[in-house]
């Protein structure tokens, strides 16, 4: 079987894919929380900045954003290596979707919780940190999980800016050996395996954020 011959090369590529996925997830979480909270700000200009970010990154295609950062930024004197462009572009893209997830979950926390925080003389920041966000977290976890899977799938795009990730290696092996069926089937299953790991981790996170909540949710 040739599969054993392909596996080391593909696993090397899978490792790059995992690295990009993890870095992009961290950036997406950061951008998602920042832009989501900014959209709930009382200051008009802060809301506007977040909206522009979210609409631009949700409104254009991930590949367009990747190519734009790869081909166009050097003309503005910013030259990043492909790996950095890869995870930053994907993180910014998914972060924009995450911003809407964060906003939606926070808005779903009942108004009474805000009112009670005010009655207890909590500052806005303290109320967010101690009361609102912890209650919004359980509702955010499943949609974030879906976004992370989308992100993993989108990492295949970085092969088009010369990063030797899993998809890039597959394409290369295919050009060399023409064992098309074996290579691409194997690659699809490797992606599936990574996706299953993400799903498993998100299950654990779900249980962890849901602890201490009344059964049946917040009334």
């Amino acid at each position: 079987m040739d599969i054993m011959r392909f596996l080391p090369t593909l696993l090397d590529g899978a490792w790059i894919t995992v690295q990009i996925t993890v870095l992009a997830i961290l950036l997406a979480l950061f951008m998602g929380f920042v832009s989501g909270l900014m959209r709930l700000s009382g200051v008009w200009a802060v809301r506007a900045v977040a909206s522009v970010y979210i609409e631009i990154f949700r409104g254009t295609s991930a590949l367009v954003q990747l190519f734009w950062m790869f081909f166009v930024l050097p003309f503005f004197g910013i030259s990043l290596d492909p790996f950095t462009v890869g995870w930053i572009a994907l993180g910014l893209n998914v972060g924009a979707y995450g911003g809407e997830v964060v906003r939606g979950a926070i808005q779903a926390v009942p108004r009474g919780q805000y009112e009670a925080s005010i009655a207890l003389n909590m500052s806005k920041w303290l109320a967010m940190r101690r009361i609102i966000v912890p209650q919004a977290l359980p509702a955010m976890v499943p949609p974030w999980g879906n976004l992370f899977i989308e992100l993993l799938k989108a990492t295949a795009l970085v092969s088009l800016i010369t990063i030797s990730d899993l998809t890039f290696r597959a394409k290369q092996l295919n050009d060399q050996t023409f064992q098309t069926v074996e290579i691409f089937t194997l690659v699809l299953f490797l992606y599936l395996a990574i996706a299953l790991v993400i799903t498993g981790v998100m299950r654990i996170v779900e249980r962890w954020t849901g602890r201490g909540l009344a059964r049946g949710g917040i009334k």
């Binding site: 295609s61 590949l63 367009v64 734009w68 098309t180 691409f184 690659v187 699809l188 599936l192």
Partner: protein, 223 residues
């Protein structure tokens, strides 16, 4: 680095070429979506089948397609099918890949719609001695589809934004045209930015359209 980063005259000159290529993008989106919408309904119905030999494999395939990258699936169709004697032009392979990938998303949408139909509708159909096929065709599906149209619309826009992937198998859609222009003229700023702007405008316009349809449907369903 050139001193003027953005050249309006150049942008204006290449705009017709990009817009010509946009026609391929839109064509791929629409044909791919019709395919996705039809196949998605079949998958959703198959997954509800009481025969486990039908429902389990479908559930597995749907999860598999949803968890793996569209780009690899497009490569798969483009490079693997010829091994079985099926040689497809790049555009057809690409549209097939888009349609297949998004049919799994559509099937989830339909599933939610089908699940929301009250049991009583089924019981009434049994009481009227309708066959399963007729119940689906005349009772269940006509009630299940309209409420999920906006969700389907979201996937239409999502699919539109995935069409640049076709450039990876050398379909000359907007992105590929922009790359060609870039490699001919060594100016990437204008073509890439134009493509981004066209995507932004078209997806914002279609989101507004979808919200209109949503509001119209809500009025219609509410009576």
């Amino acid at each position: 680095m050139s001193d003027n980063v953005w050249d309006w005259a150049f942008a204006w000159k290449i705009l017709p070429r990009i817009l010509d290529a946009a026609i391929i993008t839109i064509e791929a989106t629409l044909i791919g979506f019709v395919f996705a919408a039809v196949l998605g309904l079949l998958l959703a119905l198959g997954r509800r089948s009481r025969n486990p030999l039908l429902s389990y494999p479908i559930a597995g395939v749907v999860e598999f397609i949803r968890s793996t990258p569209l780009l690899v699936q497009i490569y798969f169709l483009y490079f693997v099918l010829p091994e079985f004697g099926v040689v497809l032009p790049a555009l057809v392979a690409g549209i097939l890949g888009l349609g297949l990938h998004f049919s799994t998303y559509c099937s989830e949408v339909y599933r939610a719609g089908l699940d929301s139909i009250p049991r009583g509708q089924w019981e009434a159909s049994v009481a009227l001695n309708l066959s399963t096929y007729r119940t689906y065709r005349d009772i269940i599906v006509p009630q299940a589809i309209p409420p999920v149209v906006p969700a389907l619309g979201n996937y239409l826009v999502a699919m539109f934004k995935e069409t640049p992937l076709l450039s990876a198998i050398a379909v000359v859609e907007m992105m590929q045209e922009a790359k060609i222009v870039g490699s001919e003229t060594f100016r990437y700023v204008e073509p890439m930015t134009l493509v981004g702007a066209i995507f932004l405008v078209l997806s914002l316009v279609s989101m507004v359209g979808i919200r209109r349809v949503e509001a119209w449907l809500r009025r219609k369903i509410m009576g």
